[in-house]
Amino acid sequence: MIKKIAILSFLVFTLSNAADAQEKIFNINWNIGIPMGDTKDFLSNEDISFGGMSFEFRQFVKSNISIGGYFAWDFYNGSSEEDIVMGNTTLSGSQRMYINSLPFMINAHYYMGESTGFRPYIGVGLGAVRTLERTEVGTFLIQNNNWQFGYYPEVGFMIPVTYSTNINFGAKYNLALESNDAFAHSALTFNVGVSIINF
């Protein structure tokens, strides 16, 4: 009897620790970006970029709802050898285009499933995006840096690995709205990373 009680107590203790509600999460992700729309046109030949990373903090306000913040640094680059024709003038030369996109967002997520298991979520983010556009033609450089209002919808899921760590997969459609000096930037990003629970 005592043995059974001891085993049961051990299991309850272990499972209850593993089942502690997630109070806060810190995500560190590797971002894989697919430029779209005007962003893709600007870059000319960039289909997919593996040069991004992001940090995210989520604070649970309910067992299945969190709010937080998101910061990322997504990098894209393209090139072109096509001639540029402007009226009576033609310019030929190698062109190299770069975009650094840095979103600073607040976000909110809704979670399904249990914190101890596979946990899908949906969310939205809203905030400012710092876009750094750079075009190099020959030894000449054109830069266009702007702040733009942006947002993203997101879907994803987390898979628990250890007591305090999840693997995180997310997909966002990032949009920085057009401004007077910048075209609208859009990209689909896949965030693959690690979630640290209740750090």
Binding site: F26, I28, N29, W30, N31, N45, S49, F50, G51, G52, M53, F55, F75, N77, G78, S79, D83, N88, T89, T90, L91, S92, G93, S94, R96, V137, G138, T139, F140, G193, V194, I196, F199
Partner: protein, 211 residues
Amino acid sequence: MIKKILSIALVMFTLSACYNTKGDVYVSDLDIIVTTFDDTYDFTGAQTFYLPDTVLQLGLEVGDDPLDGIYDELIISKTRQNLLDLGYIEETDPENNPVDLVVLLQSVVVDFHNIYGGYPPYYPGYPGYPGYPWGPGWGWGGYPVIVQSYSKGTVMINMVDPDAIDGNTQTVPRVWIGLLNGLAEGSASNVRTRIGEGIDKAFDQSAYLGQ
């Protein structure tokens, strides 16, 4: 926990940093060719041209040419060949036989020097108390100064309509300009190749010049 976060961040940073940009950039990749033309000029009506055997070095005193004109012959011959290939006829005596176009060649080489860093040494040392003179001491070393130097060159081909020259206003309207710009770096043979290809490209992208 901080170590854990930093370790994970380092892994993610490494993954993103391994992403290569679009290949290496060579000196020839920095060459550009720009052409522009006067759309009111009828190139099909022009048949003859005069090409002086001189490339004017811009911004230099007469006789002062840093390259000693080593590419002048190439610039002149390439321009002449492209005009002949387009169907134009060269006139060597324009004073007695007026021409439709005069082709003027110019070039310039500019040296750039970018200077980075460099802080002067400090702490020259302290004098000792009277009666116990101390040496001036050694100053701390400053940070190294980095100087980055390179040269950029431009070749300009100007087509002028001699009939449109205005002596009163001293204006010489150009009906076509071909401009080559790039780094004047690399071996002489490499520069010659790039100049030749650039002049060919300037005429290739100007199909309206054809007869």
